[in-house]
């Protein structure tokens, strides 16, 4: 891992088009600002990990799982006029 020391107001540049600004340090909290192209997704890691974990745990592999849900939700049949 590359380790850099920066002061408030200083900037780190990643590749040609990503800037990370150190905006403020308040006790243990560091406030960062990001300038990046729109296709670059910037997320808190814990949000990314939480979504990933939900997705993986949501995989259905047994028909029984889904039938159970249908019964439970009362979504087993379409509306009669469909």
């Amino acid at each position: 891992m590359l380790v850099l020391k920066r002061k408030v107001g200083e900037v780190i540049r990643i590749a040609n088009d990503i800037e990370v600004h150190v905006l403020a340090v308040e006790g243990e909290v560091i406030k960062l600002g990001f300038n990046a192209p729109k296709h670059i997704s910037i997320l808190r890691s814990e949000v990314f990990e939480a979504i990933k974990s939900e997705n993986i745990n949501a995989i259905v592999s047994k028909p029984d799982d889904t039938r159970f849900v249908l019964e439970k939700l009362g979504l087993g049949n379409k509306k009669p006029n469909n």
Partner: protein, 148 residues
């Protein structure tokens, strides 16, 4: 007549066994889905005769159950960013469908409200969108519209 490669798609699913996929059921996810970034092609299939869907990957035994957000009391209003609109090649809001991924824990259905699946029925593109709101959770109990 020349046969197109997508005309006669058969995929193997743990849920359905061997299934034939119609071309209009195929959605392309250019960024995959978080956790399955290696998968780009999915089929959106109605689940039996219900109002639910499964999103079935082509090349892996991965299927997710989806519920249209419109069937829930948890239909959020959010504005898609330009990047997502471009990615989905969306022209008008009417062509977008929003579905939540269902997850069952101890018999209780939960939805991931923070990261819905968004599909454009016209361009046949899809993505998992992340709602930029810290109060929205990745796991909330499902509340059906008009349900008890």
């Amino acid at each position: 007549m020349k046969e197109s490669a997508v005309e006669n798609l058969v995929i193997h699913s743990a849920l359905y066994g061997e299934i034939n996929i119609l071309p209009e059921q195929v959605y392309h996810f250019s960024n995959g889905i978080i956790g399955f970034e290696h998968l780009n092609e999915f089929a959106l299939l109605p689940y039996e005769d219900s109002q639910l869907f499964t999103l079935q990957a082509f090349s892996d035994e991965i299927g997710l159950m989806l519920i249209p957000a419109s069937l829930t009391e948890q239909h959020l209003q959010f504005e898609l960013d330009k990047q997502t609109i471009d990615k989905l090649e969306v022209k008008t809001a009417e062509k977008i469908i929003v579905l939540y991924i269902l997850r069952i824990i101890d018999g209780t259905p939960y939805i991931n409200q923070k990261a819905p699946i968004i599909l454009s029925t016209i361009s046949k593109k899809g993505c998992q969108y992340i709602v930029q709101d810290d109060t929205i959770s990745v796991r909330v109990p499902l509340v059906l519209k008009g349900g008890t």
